[in-house]
Symmetry: C2
């Protein structure tokens, strides 16, 4: 644990350093081959190479007539319609002098033609071959013609290893002739709550008790990130309870966990046994732990380690701290396990109200985006207590304030991290 040379107290670790250390301890899951129609949310385990060229030949980008540039140097000009090329019904002849071929969007451009007259620039004409059409204007050669391979060339990489299979990526891969993809299997994430104060959902809490809700949040969070949650239940605040819960979970010999996530028990209070449980096992070589105080708010205490060779992330127990640490650390960890990296775009936005100066902890302020007359500002929630899930649930973004950020006035630009709707 890093410590401050002057005071000897453990110093706070930066969010970036903690995240890098967590990711360094995680290996992506094994690869599997899946039908592409079931690949939404998976990440590619290898580059994906196109089987087909798109478009396969030059096609029209508009409805109109395919003509020869040599014939339309002087306008207006009369040409003879000699055929029609529609999507799926190419015209296979060659366009000679004085000829035009009716074309529709997506249809192959016939040999000999190099220019499109869009239909708005041609006098209305019957849809029959042999008629004379009058062209009043044309586009420059090549304009409104999509050359073969404009989008995709067969044999080239269209999607790289690690890429998330989005709906767009699936559409692109299908168009390029793929039917299955090599992806990392979904990570399986064990979720364990700790604390004597917790009762399971559906039970009535007694004096001093509360319902265990962090596991419900974390299971849904893991699912929303495309991984598989495995609820390991509640471990009470006694030595060994954490190990028991993990080792006695049914079915784990058939389908091992890729990561264990705990909530609570990560502070330095007398009743926090998570660290003791893991370090007590360290002599067997399959377990180990780092405990960090992170320079962030909410969510100072964080555990990173492994137990029986399974990586473990120990989140703080306050619901808001749990949730914010899940967004900051667990989401990138899940993306890494799934073979990729998290790439939620942050952006800058003007503040809607003043903020005091910040201390040494990176602050994640619950906020909403407000639009007034086309101007977007970000408005911090009036109360930021780390127990208030109602405030976090109503937030749409987090304002990320670096350590020691000076006081900011309304209108100042701040860094904003969007909260995905399903988070």
């Amino acid at each position: 644990m890093p410590s401050d040379a002057t005071t000897g107290k453990p110093s706070l670790m930066s969010v970036d350093d903690a995240l890098a250390a967590i990711l360094a301890g995680l290996q992506p899951t094994a690869a599997e081959t899946r039908p592409i129609a079931t690949a939404l949310g998976y990440r590619l385990a290898a580059d994906l190479t196109a089987c087909l060229t798109l478009p396969p030949q030059a096609v029209s980008a508009m409805d109109g007539y395919a003509v020869r540039a040599a014939d339309v140097g002087t306008l207006p000009v009369e040409l003879t319609r000699i055929g029609e090329s529609a999507a799926g019904h190419p015209w296979t002849g060659t366009v000679g002098a004085g000829a035009a071929v009716r074309v529709f969007t997506g249809a192959a451009i016939p040999d000999g033609a190099d220019t499109i007259a869009i239909q708005e620039d041609v006098d209305p004409a019957p849809e029959t071959d042999g008629v004379t059409i009058t062209v009043r204007a044309v586009e420059p050669p090549g304009r409104y013609i999509r050359p073969a391979g404009l989008d995709v060339t067969a044999g080239t990489v269209i999607l790289e290893a690690g890429q998330l299979m989005s709906a767009r990526a699936i559409g692109l891969a299908v168009a390029a002739g793929l039917t299955e993809v090599n992806v990392h299997r979904k990570p399986r994430i064990g979720i364990l709550s700790t604390g004597d104060e917790l009762v399971s959902p559906g039970h009535r809490p007694g004096p001093g008790q509360i319902i265990s809700s962090n596991a419900s949040f974390l299971c849904a969070f893991v699912e929303s990130c495309g991984a598989i949650p495995v609820d390991l239940g509640i471990a009470p605040d006694r030595p060994g309870a954490l190990l028991d819960a993990i080792r006695r979970a049914p079915g784990l010999d058939q389908a091992p966990l890729d990561l264990i996530v705990t909530s609570g028990g990560a502070s330095v209070g007398t009743h926090d046994h998570v660290i003791d449980d893991i370090t007590g096992e360290a002599q067997h070589g399959a377990s180990g732990v780092n405990f960090w105080k992170i320079a962030m708010r909410p969510g100072k205490p964080l555990i990173s380690g492994y137990i029986d060779k399974i990586p473990l992330i120990g989140l703080p127990g306050n619901p808001v701290s749990t949730a914010v640490c899940a967004m900051v650390f667990l989401r990138p960890a899940l993306a890494h396990l799934a073979g990729g990296s998290d790439s939620s775009p942050c952006f800058a936005m003007p503040l809607g109200s003043d903020l005091d100066e910040n201390d040494q902890r990176q602050d994640y302020i619950r906020a909403v985006i407000i639009e007034k007359q086309g101007l977007h500002t970000v408005q911090p929630a009036p109360r930021q207590d780390s127990s208030m899930m109602s405030v976090l649930t109503g937030a749409t973004v987090l304002i990320v304030r670096p350590p020691f950020d000076p006081a900011r006035k309304a209108g100042a630009m701040v860094r904003v991290m969007p909260i995905p709707p399903l988070t």
Copy 2:
């Protein structure tokens, strides 16, 4: 259809007007009761009322000692530790003069105490009752004490009808004592591709043919929006094919569709039969159609209507037009069918390069966010052809340019619509 009084030509309809008209024709699906653990991505059909108050009593926000303000007017002061209140193990006595109770984060504040001395402000003391502790500093009364009901009050609404059940909402509802929720069932969306040029995935395209990929995109898109896709296959370009595909789809009598989405066949080309198919049925009263040219790029032609009483949205067939129209029209339509409204936040961001002036169509420019030395800018892709799925797949945002927007220099603020990672 609106038309321009001067030219008689149909005028272009605005995106907002078209979207409002589409939403006006859609009814939310029926409600059902689900266990809360399976509610991720559903929308509430009724307000959700808390069963419990959170916290149920005043609790400590820190590890430390609960004391009486009257005892700590002069500091330092020595007090006698008379008990301990931990999460799940409240101390049930009353704190009298000269006494202190050890408290941990989340633990009940005992009667009589109104002030927290955090443990950093108390000289290190054994964790046993009866010892004398020395308090060097305290917080003002109430500071670091979370009053009962700070987060949630039993009997009050914590989540409103229409709210998306996010991981956070699930955590909040579980904490408030809920075990099941009343939500709208997932909408079932029929996906139909049209066009003679299309062959199914897994088949080799012949001359002039391409693989049908819009249905693959749309099925994944619908799934990513929390609805259920039903692939209705490919309808060729002949009269009646659309009706056949919809009416002969297996299983629809048991599980009817809530919406039909077509792609292609929505232009005014000779081979586009979607409109004719629907209007041909209009005399039976269960079908009808509006065809709009929307002032947007990509994606001008759009159909809105209903067939056999099922609402229908007809998207253009260019893959990029299909996808952008799905983001602009279909995503809000799916949210509306599911009982809520789409609320993806847009924001303003400085341009990374110059943009020419815009014409009468609202432009959705494929772009990426670039960060350089902490400054975020949005960089338009160099080529914007509406057939290029590779460009759209690589984009992370769309720049939304209003009609007739003047030329913009790099650095000018533009409106940005994020593309969700799974889209």
